[in-house]
């Protein structure tokens, strides 16, 4: 590790992303900050529409019109990915040092090119490999993600493979240039349960073997508990609680995190019916001024409707809730 321990591998600072739709400006990301250290796995959880994907798509430069990154910064190894002056750096980083795995493997691969073409083009573009070198490396990559007969597979098209197999190909493609960071945006949501476990196991195994950092987006808290060192909980375009995964699960502070954990079905606890959080997430075209969770919160105080709290709990743990402020600080 060349960088000093003070500089994280990836850092997002106050990221603001808006989408200019016909219905109004959707504030998908309202000041999101997080960081990922070398070799660390960060889980980002939250319900659909909470801005998880938007935050990481900003990292990958995948925000297209009508979306715009309006504020904040993203630093990779201490250098900005949003600074127009650093375009060359960005081109070297995206796809090479940061790679991404998407939610739906059925549509994420180009249907009219062979698996081989799609893996080797990354290698040839970023690593300047010749056709033969790239093909050789691609076979090694397929082997790494436990795909048998790699030589045959390289000549196949996506439609000749199952969903789980395609996701393995996506992972192989992400690993191609030995990235420092892999962003996995709900990598198992579209897969069968048994395949989900296999893919997650593979990801965890590769993460440890290659010592690569991972951002894992999911709404499965069980997955986070199993794989992630740190966890960030997102709600309505903001991170409401972030900290060490074990600590957060043992003692969630934000009422939303508490609700999420309560709502997770458990085998060891008998419940009459599924627990849920009442209400719906706020409309991000006109989000509430204070805490976005305020209308659904069972511990709401007067201050909640006016201003969002930002509380540091130590151990690099942050919570944006006035409850935490009352109990632990001041």
């Amino acid at each position: 590790m060349t960088a000093s321990p003070k500089i994280p591998l990836l850092e997002a600072r106050d990221l603001v992303v808006n989408f200019y739709t016909r219905g109004g400006v959707v504030q998908a990301s309202r000041g999101v900050s997080f960081q990922v250290d070398y070799g660390q796995t960060l889980g980002i959880v939250g319900e659909s529409g909470s801005g998880k994907s938007v935050a990481v798509q900003a990292v990958m430069g995948l925000i297209f019109t009508p979306g715009h990154i309006e504020g904040g910064d993203i630093l990779f190894k201490g250098r900005s990915l949003l600074d127009p002056a650093g375009r060359k750096f960005v081109r070297q980083v995206r796809g090479k040092e940061i790679a991404m795995i998407f939610q739906d493997p059925m549509t994420s691969l180009n249907p009219v090119f062979t698996i081989g073409t799609q893996i080797t083009e990354v290698l040839r573009h970023h690593m300047g490999m010749t056709k033969d070198q790239a093909r050789h490396r691609a076979m090694g990559l397929l082997d790494m993600v436990d795909i048998n007969a790699p030589e045959k597979r390289l000549k196949q098209y996506p439609h000749e493979m199952s969903g789980g197999m395609r996701q393995r190909v996506m992972i192989a493609m992400a690993l191609a240039c030995e990235p420092r960071l892999i962003i996995a945006d709900e990598p198992t949501t579209a897969l069968d349960v048994t395949i989900q476990a296999q893919i997650l196991e593979l990801l965890a195994d590769l993460q440890q073997r290659l010592n690569v950092s991972v951002i894992l987006i999911t709404h499965d808290l069980g997955v986070v508990a199993q794989l992630c060192h740190r966890v960030a909980v997102m709600y309505a375009g903001r991170i409401v609680e972030v900290g060490d995964a074990d600590q957060v699960f043992a003692a969630p502070v934000h009422p939303y995190t508490q609700g999420l954990i309560r709502a997770t079905p458990r085998l060891d606890v008998v419940t009459e019916r599924m627990v849920s959080i009442d209400g719906v997430p706020p409309d991000l075209i006109s989000p509430p001024k204070g805490c976005a969770f305020f209308p659904r919160c069972d511990q709401a105080k007067k201050a909640c409707s006016r201003m969002q709290a930002l509380v540091e709990l130590g151990d690099d743990r942050h919570v944006s809730c006035w409850c935490a402020a009352k109990e632990n600080v001041r």
Binding site: M60, G61, L62, T65, R91, V93, R94, G95, K96, A99, M100, F102, D104, T107, S108, L109, N110, P111, V112, F113, T114, E121, V122, H125, H126, Y157, H159, M170, M173
Partner: protein, 306 residues
């Protein structure tokens, strides 16, 4: 693959046979070539002799058998109008039409694909609006009128291009433009809409996330996926040009191709020549269709040749 070719060829033969039969029947129903060919004052004996020479006096089924027999040898007989083998005329005129079509459709493709892509990159942007407006205009203008307009403007008013006929490379410009513009209008709309669809697909995001250059993502990954509908339309336009637009365009510009010849043959009730032309057109259509099926398979591996 071999089976595919075999099946398509058999299929094509059936189509050609069907077209030929229809032409055979129709040409014998609608007109009497003897009346057209011989002077008004000719005697019944002369008419009978001429009929006999053409074989028109024999029963229709026998005529048909003979017709089919000759067809196998590509022998349609002598053109009544030009007094030489009909197929010779066709082979002489066809290259001119193919040339015109190639230049016209080629021009349309070269313009439509980049324009459609640029328009699709920013739907609702300036380029997009101008393109859509322009192609609507191109779609609404009748082709013969467009040709006349070009003649009036470029040949009569500015005198920079010849009005009609052949000879120099400049002669082909106006007819090819007239041939290509409506095609360009249709094609650009299709390229645009197909590309808008493809650019919104997930694999495009994957390609960008892989850090691939913009040109590669749009011009290779997305365009190849959009290629299927585009190619379908191009094939259709080629067919229409060879066996449809050429009649209009060649007539306006006196371009000595198969379309103009067809009109002249119809005017003279030269049923031999008409048969030869229609047969040739049918063969072209069938061949282009088979070629299209091959190209489909080439750009989209998901398709099975069947």
């Amino acid at each position: 693959m071999g089976r595919f070719i075999y099946r398509r060829l058999v299929h094509g033969l059936v189509v050609i046979l069907g077209v030929t039969v229809i032409v055979f029947v129709v040409t014998r129903m609608v007109g009497d070539p003897v009346q057209v060919m011989l002077p008004l004052e000719s005697t019944p004996e002369q008419r009978a002799a001429f009929e006999q020479k053409l074989g028109l006096d024999r029963p229709i089924p026998i005529q048909f058998v003979e017709f089919m027999g000759n067809l196998v040898r590509l022998d349609f007989g002598e053109s009544l109008w030009q007094k030489r083998p009909a197929m010779d005329i066709v082979f002489e005129k066809l290259p001119m039409t193919i040339l015109l079509t190639a230049v016209g459709i080629g021009f349309a493709c070269v313009m439509a694909i980049p324009l459609g892509i640029i328009a699709a990159l920013r739907p609702g942007g300036v380029v997009d609006r101008v393109t859509v407006f322009g192609s609507l205009l191109g779609l609404s203008v009748p082709q013969f009128w467009l040709g006349l307009l070009f003649i009036v403007v470029f040949a009569v008013q500015f005198k920079i291009l010849p009005t009609s006929g052949t000879g120099t490379p400049a002669h082909i410009l106006l007819p090819a433009l007239t041939m290509g513009l409506p095609t360009l209008a249709r094609l650009v709309m299709l390229v645009r809409s197909s590309m808008i669809d493809e650019l919104n697909r997930q694999y495009v995001k994957t390609s960008f996330a892989k850090g691939l250059p913009f040109v590669r993502v749009v011009g290779l990954h997305a365009l190849r996926n959009a290629g299927l509908p585009i190619m379908t339309l191009v094939g259709w336009e080629v067919i229409r040009s060879l066996a449809g637009y050429s009649v209009v365009v060649e007539t306006v510009f006196a371009w000595p191709g198969i379309g103009l010849t067809a009109i002249q043959a119809i005017e003279r009730e030269d049923l031999i020549l008409i048969q030869a032309i229609v047969f040739t057109a049918a063969v072209c259509v069938v061949l282009i269709n088979i070629a299209m099926d091959f190209l489909y398979k080439l750009i989209d591996p998901r398709l099975k040749l069947a």
